[in-house]
Amino acid sequence: MSINRTPVSYWPLGQNERPWRAIDARTTPGIGVRLKLVSTPEQLTPEPGLRTVEDGGARAAATGEIRLEGVSKFYGDVTVIDDLTLDIEPGSFYALLGPSGCGKTTTLRMIGGFEVPSVGTVHLDGHDVTNLPPNKRAVNTVFQSYALFPHLTVAKNVAFGMERKGVNKAEIKRRTAEALESVQLAHLAERRPAALSGGQQQRVALARALVNRPGALLLDEPLGALDLRLRRQLQVEIKKVQQEVGITFVHVTHDQEEAMTMADVIAVMNRGKIEQAGSARELYDYPSTAFVANFLGQSNLVKASITGTDGDSSVAETHDGQKFKVPTGRVAATTGELAVGVRPEKVWISELDALDREERRCNRIRATVITSAFLGVSLEYHVKTPGGDELIVTVQNNARDQVDWLADGTEVELSWEPDHTFVVKVGADV
């Protein structure tokens, strides 16, 4: 963990939020110094990790490792979490991404202690905490819509956790003030949460959790209630906070862009299971299931089977007999229901026979333009293949790549590099 970081405000201000604070921070030495607090070693070192609050004395090295082992959760006949095992590396920013009802929030709540798994165990830093209540776990949560105490001032909200832990008054006061300054809300310390804007409340919730120096921070759709612009801005800010405090963040979201912006590791969840976990890049370039291929970005998927493998190269044959080359490394499975896919931006579209042999990519298919739309940064074509599959092709709006706007009904040829082709497992729900 780097200690000699340059002093930075880790809450750069939004253009529309009290700009004079930003000026203060840069021109007033006092404030500038205090904003450094997040970078001081003391602040950066979480309290002895995810040990349970009770086993006080033993100062184990702070890690922030989270492990769920064979966890299932049933509500009556409904299986919400289905035999889930996951490992979260200490200090990583881990996103649980999935549609509503996929079990991501339940998973987070089991880590926080608000739900007890029906089967399986939850480990924090190697300790089994499965049956410990939330107040005995050294993790803190930023709740969806914040759950700030409406009867307490902002400062009292932030102090709440420290008061319960019996931190002495002088230190509570000091750390509360520091935490509020670090989120640039010191001037609102004596206000009630109701008097704050959504973005400000979000920051209070973050300060209220982080001030306790937890081993890990759990965030349950923390930006869901904010408008797009503020959300974008806070995504970057929260990511920055995580890098500075260096503790594990587990972030639940249904917004793929948010997960990609913030997380080191994204676990895509569907129907109580993790479909695939990895970096945004891995998931995007090497999706292993149709669900992942479509949840993270868009994909063109056509039902297919693997008909041959020759070293690094395999051949996928679609249901209508088209053959495509695929790098063997991008074939997620060779048996079961499969689909061959390519991302819309990887496909070249041209009028039939308009390209020279050299210009053509190796994987080719004929199609007809059904409809198209101008999206500013790109043109999006919807085309239909002879086999009846509807595919999407996006063409960057730059003079380099294109070509005129192809009219509806145009007979076209789609072509793409075999390297951009992948084969995924098809689940029950494509």
């Binding site: 926080g112 202690g113 939330p134």
Partner: protein, 286 residues
């Protein structure tokens, strides 16, 4: 022109209520203020003499009853609160699909006249009744002890009669409480007991405040419970006002007592909200 009309619309809506208030509250109030300053006797009639001494006389003559009224009302309010809080808590959080039924049970006594209900208690607590006999058996009551005609009976009757006024606002407050706040409290290292003390109770304070006023105010002026469950030794200011108005026909004293009661309650409520109100609003759980 059109705009003016629109601005007047809310007033039209308020008009029936305002008229009602003026005719049945404002005018009688002024009339009684007038009466409270009269002198005379029932035979010859009363006449306005600006006799402010009516007030001081009423205080010195009926101070025990005034004090008793406030004391009884206070104790009854506390009892109602002690019973109502767990009840409201249970209905709000634990009753599940029985919620509606239980709320109905709370208000069901209102379907019957208060006098009738209090008479029922009189029958239940009578000296040679089953309850008193059992209490004597187990030694909770001396062999010649009784419940009827004691302050216990009167206070108990008041607490019973006004209990729903405490339960309903408390229930409303608790029901409205965002359960995630309790999760947030436990997330921030509060035990369930501490979460209850630091979050549930402060957030139920508006209901507690409303309920206490709704019980205390009518309880102070209550005369039915003292009349039916007590003796002259338990008479409250309400009984005195009633007998002065209807039996002795000493209207000025009765009117003066009424105004004293209004004044005392007003002062009490203002003090109460000043203490509790500002406390909850600024510094509650601190």
């Amino acid at each position: 022109m059109f705009k003016n009309r629109q601005r007047l619309i809310p007033w039209y809506f308020a008009l029936p209520g305002l008229l009602w208030l003026i005719v049945f509250f404002g005018i009688p109030l002024i009339n009684q203020a007038n009466v409270s300053l009269m002198t005379g006797d029932p035979e010859a009639g009363y006449e306005l003499t600006w006799a402010f001494s009516n007030y001081t006389d009423a205080i010195s003559e009926y101070w025990p009853q005034i004090r008793r009224s406030l004391g009884y009302a206070f104790v009854a309010t506390v009892i109602a609160l002690v019973i109502a809080f767990p009840l409201a808590y249970f209905i709000a959080y634990k009753a599940g699909r029985w919620k509606g039924f239980l709320l109905l049970m709370v208000v069901l006594p209102f379907f019957m006249s208060q006098v009738l209900r209090t008479v029922s208690w009189q029958l239940l607590l009578t000296d040679n009744g089953w309850i008193v006999a059992r209490l004597r058996d187990i030694g909770l009551l001396a062999d010649d002890g009784r419940i009827l005609a004691t302050s216990t009976a009167v206070i108990g009757g008041i607490a019973y009669n006004y209990l729903p006024f405490m339960v309903l606002p408390l229930y409303a407050s608790l029901e409205r409480l965002d359960r995630r706040l309790l999760e947030a409290a436990t997330d921030l290292y509060a035990s369930r007991a501490t979460a209850f003390r630091k979050v549930t109770v402060p957030l139920a304070t508006p209901g507690l405040f409303a309920g206490s006023l709704l019980v205390f105010i009518p309880a102070t002026g209550d005369f039915i419970n003292a009349a039916l469950l007590g003796s002259t030794k338990q008479y409250m200011v309400g009984n005195v006002i009633q007998s002065n108005f209807l039996t002795i026909l000493d209207f000025p004293t009765a009117a003066a007592l009424s105004f004293l009661l209004i004044g005392i309650i007003l002062v009490g409520v203002v003090l109460y909200s000043a203490i509790l109100g500002t406390k909850t609003l600024t510094e509650a759980a601190g």
